[in-house]
């Protein structure tokens, strides 16, 4: 089974503030890492690779330094990588980004399965996976907790997903896109040796010219939505202190937990 893994490089720290004058984002650090849920997707891909053989190719769209995330993914066992980097595709919303990823996957080769993390730690839209599936006209299951594959099933795969208070087994025809929740498995770790080995694994770079997408379909210009402002949260990060007797506090705690669980 050939698997494409879609990953995103996200900031190590979500410690971002807004400049009160310019409303520009001020990041505490520019350090990037693989989006945490994507590590769970890589793990699922590795488990399937061990079971079915085939190759795993990791894709990301981002600035040139997103190569680091790809190398990290290859240190975890991905065989090849593809970086889509071009000023023309930068700053795109989920629709524009999905088009670029889908085009890159199509150009790279045939895949039986696409996987990715369900939500990113920064934007947390959870939309790109299903949008890529739509572009490629394949079915999708998002926010899955695991996957089972039996070669006897042929071109079908079973995703496990928690939905409301149920655990569902969802059979899906291949090729398909499945996204995985953070924490659904325990991702393997790179080692010093695998880190070093990853440096010489293949990395293909695509620009928008390679993909041949019209400029009004990609990047900021190809995005139906656009960010027009940014601001700091109204409340500070300091905790709101609750007062009362232990019994009253226990009740307040109970209410807070139940309210959040209900959401």
């Amino acid at each position: 089974m050939n698997i494409a893994v879609l990953i995103k490089q996200v900031p190590v720290s979500n410690d971002v503030t807004v400049d009160p004058e310019t409303h520009a984002l001020v990041r505490a650090s520019s350090e990037g890492m693989i989006n945490p849920a994507d590590l769970n997707a890589i793990e699922e891909a590795m488990l399937l690779k061990e079971q079915t053989e085939g190759k795993v190719v990791v894709f990301t769209m981002g600035p040139p330094d997103a190569e680091k995330a790809l190398r990290d993914a290859m240190a975890l066992g991905c065989d090849e990588s593809c970086l889509i980097t071009d000023r023309a595709v930068a700053g795109g919303d989920t629709v524009a980004t999905a088009k670029v990823l889908a085009a890159a996957i199509k150009k790279y080769g045939e895949f039986d399965l696409l996987v990715g993390g369900a939500l990113s730690a920064d934007g947390a839209t959870g939309q790109v996976g299903a949008m890529v599936a739509e572009c490629l006209d394949i079915p999708h299951v998002v926010e899955a907790a695991g996957v089972k594959y039996d070669a006897a099933d042929g071109d079908k795969i079973v995703a496990v997903k928690k939905f409301h208070d149920k655990k569902l087994s969802i059979r899906c025809a291949l090729p398909a896109m499945i996204s995985f929740n953070f924490g659904c498995n325990e991702p393997r770790l790179a080692t010093l040796r695998s880190k070093r080995a990853a440096k010489s694994k293949p990395l293909v770079t695509y620009t928008n010219a390679d993909l041949g997408l019209p400029l009004d379909e990609v990047g900021i210009g190809g995005s139906p939505t656009t960010v027009v402002d940014s601001f700091s949260p109204k409340a500070g990060r300091k905790a709101q202190m609750l007062e009362g007797t232990p019994a009253e506090l226990a009740k307040k705690l109970y209410d807070l937990i139940e309210e959040e669980k209900g959401k």
Binding site: V12, S29, S30, E31, A190, T191, L192, K195, R196, K199
Partner: protein, 386 residues
């Protein structure tokens, strides 16, 4: 007699220990520690806390400094278990050449003189008993004691801060000092980002890697360089070690256990101030909490572990971090007076803050309260660098 008013900038190990030592001058001092973030949260939190009896981190010439630090923390632990985060794993210091061997043997003699155990082991099977994953090829022997281990700099800072507050000291967290007021080359006080102003007789810079920027507030060029302390948390093959991993010291790197993981960090003395990969002057505010290590560190560590501790070379890389050690060119701290009257330094510990802060700030407190110097203050005086 009027109380002496002292402002301390920085709530890491150096600032909190100084606050504590000043608060021991019963009622004579009025002290405020200003911390822009959390107590013991910045470079102190990234310290390995290896206050060991005879490793190479601090020359044997400063044995008393080391012993005072070690015993201060042991007493903290006796008062309240966990308050210094002590993990008594013992320490194995490996001798790779005769010079190192001599230093270790001296350290053992000094430790024994203070009533601790220590031995120099040349029997390679014994060394392997203590650390089964080690390679004993190309080593002469190793010093070992079961009496020490590592501490937690963040916990120690918080404990010092608590003791200091109990003695009447004030800690202000989340408050950044924005200006040090100086008139006629004499410190008058300082201003903070919450709009408050304070009058002080003495202001002490305990900001470690930030000292260059702190010094600029009084027009002082604090000659601090940053060396990179790069660290990895390794998950050993099999996820769990079946032995107590001791603090392990080589001239090039050191390791210790962190739960079931192993923490490995590049050692201080392997740093070359003229190599831009090792040293420079950077902005510590831009340091991420985790990550930030350079690729060269992977190669460095792989080569080191393959040769020296091959049993853990296939460990998983759990996380990494980068910290800046602040140090002057001669790698010694800067302690005491500066050309600006009333402005003092307690900085530049170069990653040894947890070892050196207790003795250094004990002496500095005496200087501030009594005007009396000590040999340590003389050795580590700012004027040596002028």
């Amino acid at each position: 007699m009027a109380k002496k008013k002292i402002g301390i900038i920085g709530g890491g190990i150096s600032g909190t220990a100084l606050g504590y030592h000043l608060s021991l001058y019963d009622g004579e001092a009025e002290v405020i520690v200003f911390e822009k973030d959390t107590i013991g949260g910045a470079s102190t939190a990234k310290s390995a806390g290896t206050v060991c009896l005879f490793d190479d981190s601090l020359k044997n010439r400063y044995w008393d400094v080391r012993l005072y630090g070690f015993e201060s923390y042991l007493k903290m632990e006796e008062e309240e278990k966990g308050s210094a985060g002590f993990d008594k794993t013992g320490t194995l210091v490996v001798a790779t050449n005769e010079e190192v061997e001599k230093v270790i043997k001296t350290g053992i003699a000094l430790a024994k003189a203070a009533g601790y155990t220590g031995e120099y082991i040349t029997d390679k099977d014994r060394i392997k008993e203590i650390l089964p994953d080690i390679s004993t090829d190309n080593i002469l022997g190793a010093g070992y004691t079961a009496d020490d281990g590592y501490f937690d700099g963040t916990m120690i800072s918080n404990t010092y801060a608590k003791k200091f507050q109990k003695n009447g000291g004030v800690v202000k967290t989340g408050v950044k000092v924005t200006e040090v007021v100086v008139e006629d080359n004499k410190v008058k006080g300082l201003k903070t980002d919450d709009g408050a102003e304070y009058e002080f007789d003495v202001v002490v810079d305990c900001t470690g890697p930030w000292s260059k920027f702190t010094g600029e507030m009084v027009g002082l060029d604090v000659p601090i360089w940053h060396t990179k302390a790069e660290a990895f948390f390794l998950c050993p093959p099999g996820k769990k070690l079946d032995y107590t991993f001791p603090v392990l010291k080589y001239p090039e790197f050191y390791g210790l256990r962190a739960g079931d993981n192993i923490f490995i960090c590049k050692s201080h003395l392997s740093m070359d101030l003229s190599n831009p990969m090792h040293a420079g002057q950077w902005d510590p505010d831009k340091l991420p909490a985790t990550g930030g290590t350079d690729d060269y560190f992977i190669d460095f560590l792989l080569d080191q572990l393959e040769a020296k501790v091959p049993g853990i070379v296939d460990s998983g890389l759990v996380s990494s971090w980068l910290s800046y050690r602040a140090e002057p060119k001669d790698f010694w701290p800067i302690l005491g007076e500066t050309p600006v009257e009333g402005y003092m330094l307690s900085t530049g510990f170069g990653g040894n803050g947890v070892i050196e802060a207790p003795a250094a700030t004990r002496d500095l407190a005496k200087l501030i309260m009594r005007g009396e110097s000590t040999p340590l203050l003389e050795n580590w005086a700012f004027k040596r660098l002028l």
